[in-house]
């Protein structure tokens, strides 16, 4: 089972030992540069861009905050957050975790700890963390549990988050929208690179994935309503939904989808048609045509949920 290479947060290497040795000897940036592919997002920028912490504008973070970053990858969020507060970063990849430890050591992050852990079985006490972040991770969790129903696996992970989060804590979830307008227009789904798959029913999507990839379709994303429903099932009562534009990894805007005026203002006064890539031009045209924010919210690319 392989993950889509589009996501720079993962470390792809044929020789993990050499990669980690390079990270130790010449620095974590040098190691990331050594595995940088031309068609991938800039791995160093992904791991260090200040806007990775853009989320934190929405919550109060103090030095006394205790935070958990699930699926920390190369530490883009976790390591920067650790400059402000105590952070525990987990990932299922041993390479990623070891890389994080090397990076934390080189950056002298005293408040940072990285562990290999499974999001569906978090090794932490109840009501432990003030802040939990899960950015571009929920859709990948079922890959580590291919024998289970993906939605059930994801719900289990979200319930674990609720369990370890303090009652007044905040959970920040970034995930793509399965009904993104671009998908209707034939843009390949970002995780598996197949057209229309996220729009199909799950059994049909499985069938398509088997036919083309030889594996089931596990990388489930959700529409706004579906995601909010899943979060409620996991025990989150307060949910604020944002359109993370252009995406939750490199955000330039966070647009509140539950405020009509704000969403319209963004589309009419801030969204530049030039920002859309060639493939998304018709998407842009249709966005301008959609004047009803409830309709618009169904078709945006990336969501950010702030839950408590």
């Amino acid at each position: 089972m392989t993950k889509c290479r589009e996501f720079g947060g993962f470390i792809w290497t044929d020789d993990e030992h050499a990669f980690l040795r390079l990270a130790r000897d010449e620095g974590w940036k040098a190691a990331l540069k050594s595995v940088q592919q031309e068609d991938e997002p800039d791995k160093i920028a992904e791991a260090s861009a200040p806007n990775r912490l853009g989320w934190l504008t929405l919550v109060d973070v103090a030095p006394s905050t205790c935070a958990l970053d699930i699926g920390a990858g190369t530490g883009g969020l976790a390591c920067q957050l650790a400059e402000i507060c105590e952070v525990v970063a987990i990932d299922t990849s041993e390479v990623d975790v070891e890389f994080l430890r090397i990076r934390a050591s080189q950056e002298r992050l005293a408040n940072f700890r990285a562990e290999v852990a499974d999001a569906t079985n978090l090794p932490f006490e109840d009501n432990y963390f003030d802040l939990v972040t899960m950015n571009g991770v929920l859709e990948w969790i079922p890959i580590d549990h291919p024998e289970r129903d993906p939605a059930a696996t994801q719900l289990a992970a979200l319930k674990e988050v609720r369990r370890v989060l303090k009652q007044d804590g905040r959970f920040l979830l970034g995930i793509e929208n399965r009904t993104y307008l671009g998908y209707f227009l034939g843009m390949p789904e970002q995780h598996v690179n197949l057209k229309y798959i996220s729009l199909l029913s799950r059994p049909d999507a499985d069938q398509l994935s088997h036919a083309i990839r030889g594996v089931p379709f596990l990388e489930h994303t959700y529409s706004q309503g579906e995601a909010e429903s899943l979060l409620r099932q996991a025990g989150f009562e307060r949910i604020e939904t944002y359109w993370m534009y252009p995406n939750y990894r490199w955000p330039e805007y966070m647009v509140p989808l539950d405020n009509r005026a704000a969403t319209l203002f963004f589309v009419n006064r801030m969204l530049s048609p030039q920002d859309f890539s060639d493939g998304g031009r018709l998407v842009e045209y249709l966005f301008y045509s959609l004047t009803e924010p409830s309709a618009l919210g169904a078709f945006v690319g990336h969501y950010g949920f702030v839950c408590g």
């Binding site: 036919a211 805007y253 405020n259 006064r269």
Partner: protein, 489 residues
């Protein structure tokens, strides 16, 4: 941080001239600094939050989270200065600043919310948007330059110092600092070239004025009432630069950044063309920019002097960016290359302007070089109205909306309705002019040899001399689920 900011707003809103609904919540729309998605060591500009309440149709308040290095007293003095400028001008140029305080150790400014799009967004919509077209672009360019010209003309009357000064030596030093700062050869920007620039600037006898531009933004003016001036370098700039350069900072930024730069990638050439083109035949920005310069009292016959102002402004801008990116070696290297190219072009054009033999580069865009990646939606737009009105031996003369077109007869029958004809001249198959007489004259001069190579459902492939052209006939219809069908074969 947001909860604390919101709490502060609720505590102090009574003191500010804003109307915020007491019931319901305040909802934030957050804008981040785009630069902070690159590998920079720290954010230079903080975050902007536009606040909406449950009943408002637009933002009710703006909050700016500034960089921690910006002291509160600087913000206060800048706000005061802005008020003073507004009062002198008799016109609200800046958004009102209501308050500034430290929240979570960061300076946070509370300001008036302005419900107008930026100049950059207006242009982007005219060029790339679904309703964009050439006439809209022309109108917007004209309006923007008129506004800026009027604004600067107003501000010039409220100058800090009425006395004029000689700025030649200063300009020469600026040029050298640029060259040395970027480690460029003297071949790129010679002392001789700098002396010529300095001589012309000396001849202009410029005043010190206050400074208007947000120097650290990669964008140019967001338009009056949108930009503010919270900048620690302002005092230095106010006392150390001629005020007229602010207008040229606007001009350089206007052409150097997207979307105008997308239309005219040779931005230096575009400014030169605009300086020379009164009629707008070569470039759409010409008449508007010239009119703007006229408003500021510049003699448009003195192009070498104006070009000197463009040069020194560019050097200043380049040094601003060197300062902005000083902690990022990768970005510095990238901009060095770009600035070296621009400087070389500036000097090259300086020579031809000095000689008086400058010719507008026809390849610059006799018509706008419309972006290659046009939105497909544009091709679904309203059809162009065509009328055959004349013919020559080799061409049909057609009127298409505001254009006259000469279409080579050898092309045979073409369905023109699904293509936005008139945006590009496709010599020798498609000639464009504003009047019937001009396009007929062009057609008379051409002896095209156009061969149809092959024709598909969507394109005619043509050979015209040494060039090959693909002329779209119509768009293919969307085929949903075609992948699915194919993948199950």
């Amino acid at each position: 941080m947001l909860p604390r900011i919101e709490a502060y707003i609720r505590e102090h809103e009574n003191k500010w001239p804003v109307e915020i609904s007491r019931s319901g919540r305040l909802t934030p729309l957050i804008r981040f600094n785009k630069e902070a998605n690159a590998d920079v060591e720290r954010e230079k500009i903080g975050r902007v939050i536009l606040w909406f309440d449950d009943s408002s149709t637009g933002p009710v308040l703006v909050t700016k989270i500034m960089d921690a290095s910006v002291p509160l007293d600087l913000i206060a003095s800048c706000a005061l200065r802005q008020q003073g400028i507004d009062k002198m001008a008799g016109w609200p140029i800046f958004p009102d600043v209501y308050d500034a305080t430290l929240i979570s150790d960061k300076p946070v400014v509370f300001m008036e919310a302005i419900d107008t799009p930026s100049y950059q967004l207006e242009l982007a919509k005219a060029i790339f948007g679904p309703a964009g077209n050439i006439q809209l672009l022309k109108n917007i360019v004209e309006r923007q330059f008129n506004e800026i010209g009027a604004l600067f003309a107003l501000l010039a009357k409220t100058e800090v110092s009425r006395e004029t000064e000689k700025w030649g030596d200063w300009a020469f030093n600026v040029g050298q600092q640029f060259r040395d700062g970027y480690g460029l050869d003297e071949d790129c920007v010679s002392d001789g070239s700098l002396k010529i620039m300095a001589k012309h600037i000396d001849s202009l006898a410029l005043q010190r004025n206050f400074v208007l531009v947000d120097h650290y933004c990669a964008n140019y003016f967001a338009g009056p009432r949108v930009v503010d001036q919270m900048d620690s370098s302002l005092d230095r700039r106010m006392s150390g630069e001629p005020g007229l350069l602010d207008l040229f900072r606007f001009i350089v930024a206007y052409f150097r950044t997207s979307p105008i730069e997308t239309l005219y990638p040779d931005w230096v050439g575009a400014i030169a063309a605009s300086l020379h083109d009164e009629s707008g035949r070569s470039i759409y920005t010409g008449p508007a920019m010239r009119q703007c310069l006229r408003k500021l009292g510049l003699n448009l016959n003195r192009v070498p002097e104006i070009w000197a102002l463009v040069m020194v402004t560019f050097f200043l801008r380049a040094m601003d960016e060197r300062d902005f990116y000083r902690n990022s070696a990768a970005n510095l290297s990238h901009i060095r290359t770009a600035f070296e190219t621009s400087a070389t072009t500036l000097v090259h054009l300086q020579k031809s302007i000095e000689r008086g033999d400058y010719q507008v580069n026809e390849g610059l865009g006799q018509r706008v070089q419309w972006p290659r990646s046009l939105p497909r939606a544009r091709e679904y737009g309203s059809p162009v109205r065509l009328k055959l009105i004349a013919e020559t031996e080799n061409y049909n003369i057609v009127r298409a909306d505001e254009h006259h077109l000469a279409i080579v007869k050898d092309l045979g029958p073409i369905n023109l309705f699904e293509e936005r004809i008139g945006d590009r001249e496709l010599t020798p198959c498609l000639l464009i002019a504003d009047t019937l007489e001009e396009v007929t004259a062009k057609a008379e001069r051409m002896k095209p040899l156009v061969q149809l190579v092959v024709e598909s459902r969507t394109y005619k492939l043509l050979r015209a001399g040494q060039r090959f052209l693909a002329l779209v006939q119509r768009l293919a219809p969307w085929r949903f689920f075609a992948t699915r069908r194919e993948s199950f074969k």
